[in-house]
Symmetry: C2
Subunit: 239 residues, 2 copies
DNA sequence: TCGTAGATATCGCCT
DNA sequence: AGGCGATGTCTACGA
C-alpha cells in the first residue's frame, strides 16, 4: 500500500503525487521549495528544504525546522498539482502544489527539487481522550462539594444572554450559583467570562435573587484572583 | 543531504532515525503504529498507518488521515529511540520513539512496521507575515479617524490593572478613550476585555474623567453588539 | 451557516 | 520562568 520514490525528477514526482491522491492516499513530499500564502494574511517562505504533507481531505501542511505548527498550511480548498515548464533549461522547471480555498485563501508550494516522496493510506484519528474540561464537569456533578460544601447542581450548559453557564445551581443558603470550569490554570479571561454570566443572570432573574459566581479550576493566576475579588466572585481550587 | 530508506526492518529504521537526529536533521517515518500520550490529558490511537515527523528541536508530530492539527504530538521533551525486543518472534518487535516532557507529559509511538523513512535538513521558518492585528494598529495610528472622527491616539499598549489597552487616547471632546483592536470578527470575549479596561481606567483616573471604550474590528457578532451596547461601549467597523 | 467556547491549544512578547 | 493575549488559530457542537 505504501509507495516510495527517491530523488525523482519533477514529472515523476507530479505523477506520483496525483496518482496517490486519486487513490485516496496521503502524500509526503520532501524537497526544496518556496511557499506563498495569500488570503486572511500574507506569508512567504524563502527557498529551503521542507516537508509537504498532502492529506486525503486536501489539507496541505508545510513543515520546516521547528515547532508544532506548520510553517504554512491550507485546508478546505481544492488541491492541484502541475509542473511549470521554464522556457529555458529544464532545471528551471518547478513542481507546483496549490490549494485554492473558497474564501480568497490560497497556498502555493513551488518545488525546485524533490528529494523523496512517500504515499500511504493513513489511519483515521479515532482517539480515546480523557482529562478534558468535560471530565472535570463529570467530577463536579459526581461530587458537588468540590465546588463548595452544600452546593447543589441544577443544570449544565444553562443558557444566558451572555452565553452558556457550565454548571448552574444553588448554594447551601439557596442563592443562585454560576460555576465556570477551567481544566487548566485560570487566567483573566475566565474571570471576565464568569462575570458576564453572573451579570446576565442578575438581570434575567428576579431582582431580589442573589447570584454568586464560582470559578472552579486547578489553579489561578494572581491577577485573576484579584479580578475575581473585585467582582465579588469566588475561586475554588481543584488541584 | 537528504536520505531515504524504503521498507527497512526496525533495527535499520532505528539506526537511521538516531543517526539523522544526531546530525541535526528532521526525520519523517511512515509506518503502522500505536500511540499513547499521558500528561495534561490521556490519548490513545489504535494501530494504524501514520506519519511521524521528528524535528531537530525534538518536536514530535503524529499525523493521520485528516486535519491541520496532529493526532498526537509532543514538544519540549527529550526524544529517545529504541527497539523493543519481543521474547517470541522477531515480528513482535517494536520500534519505539518517545518524548519525555519535563512536566509529566509523555508521548510514545510504537511502530510494528516501518514503510519508509526520510531524513532531511529543514529550512528555518523566517517567514514574512502581514495582515495581523499589529498591522491593524499601524493603520489606526496612521489614520485615527478609522476609530472615530476626531480621535487622537496618545499611547499604545498602555498598562492598566486589568491588562494592556491596545490604543489609548482622547476623543474630540477630550474624553479618555480605550480602543481594543481585533483582526477578525469580534466575539463576546472582546467586549468583556474592553469593559475590563474601561472599568480599570475609571477607577485609576480622576473620578471626574469620562472614559469611553471603542472596539475596532472588521465585524462583530450580534450578541457581542448587544453586550457592547449594554455596557455603553462603541463599535467601529473597519472592513 | 453562524455563533460560541474548548484545547495536551501553540507562539511570541514582556516582566 | 510565568503571565498575558493573539492566532491565517483549529475543532467540535448547537441553534
Amino acid at each position: 500500500m505504501t509507495r516510495t520514490l527517491a530523488d525523482p525528477d519533477l514529472d515523476a514526482a507530479a505523477a506520483f503525487a496525483s496518482d496517490a491522491a486519486s487513490d485516496g492516499l496521503a502524500v509526503s513530499v520532501v524537497g526544496a521549495c518556496r511557499v506563498r500564502f495569500t488570503g486572511r494574511a500574507e506569508r512567504r517562505l524563502p527557498e529551503g528544504v521542507r516537508q509537504l504533507l498532502w492529506k486525503p481531505d486536501d489539507t496541505l501542511l508545510v513543515h520546516g525546522e521547528s515547532g508544532r505548527d506548520p510553517d504554512a498550511w491550507a485546508s478546505g480548498g481544492a488541491v492541484a498539482v502541475e509542473v511549470e515548464r521554464a522556457s529555458g533549461h529544464a532545471s528551471d522547471d518547478r513542481l507546483v502544489v496549490k490549494s485554492d480555498g473558497g474564501a480568497a485563501d490560497a497556498l502555493r508550494v513551488r518545488f525546485s527539487a524533490v528529494h523523496a516522496a512517500t504515499a500511504f493510506d493513513p489511519a483515521s484519528a479515532d482517539a480515546t481522550v480523557s482529562g478534558t474540561e468535560s471530565d472535570l464537569k463529570e467530577r463536579v456533578l459526581a461530587n458537588p462539594d468540590l465546588v463548595e460544601p452544600g452546593f447543589r447542581p441544577l443544570a449544565t450548559e444553562r443558557e444566558t444572554p451572555a452565553g452558556r453557564v457550565d454548571v448552574y445551581g444553588r448554594d447551601a443558603d439557596g442563592n443562585v450559583v454560576a460555576v465556570e470550569l477551567k481544566n487548566g490554570r485560570a487566567g483573566p479571561s475566565a474571570a471576565s467570562q464568569l462575570e458576564r454570566y453572573v451579570t446576565a443572570l442578575r438581570r434575567d432573574l428576579h431582582a431580589d435573587a442573589t447570584v454568586r459566581g464560582i470559578l472552579v479550576a486547578p489553579g489561578v493566576t494572581e491577577k485573576t484572583r484579584r479580578l475575581l475579588a473585585e467582582s465579588g466572585l469566588t475561586f475554588s481550587d481543584v488541584s
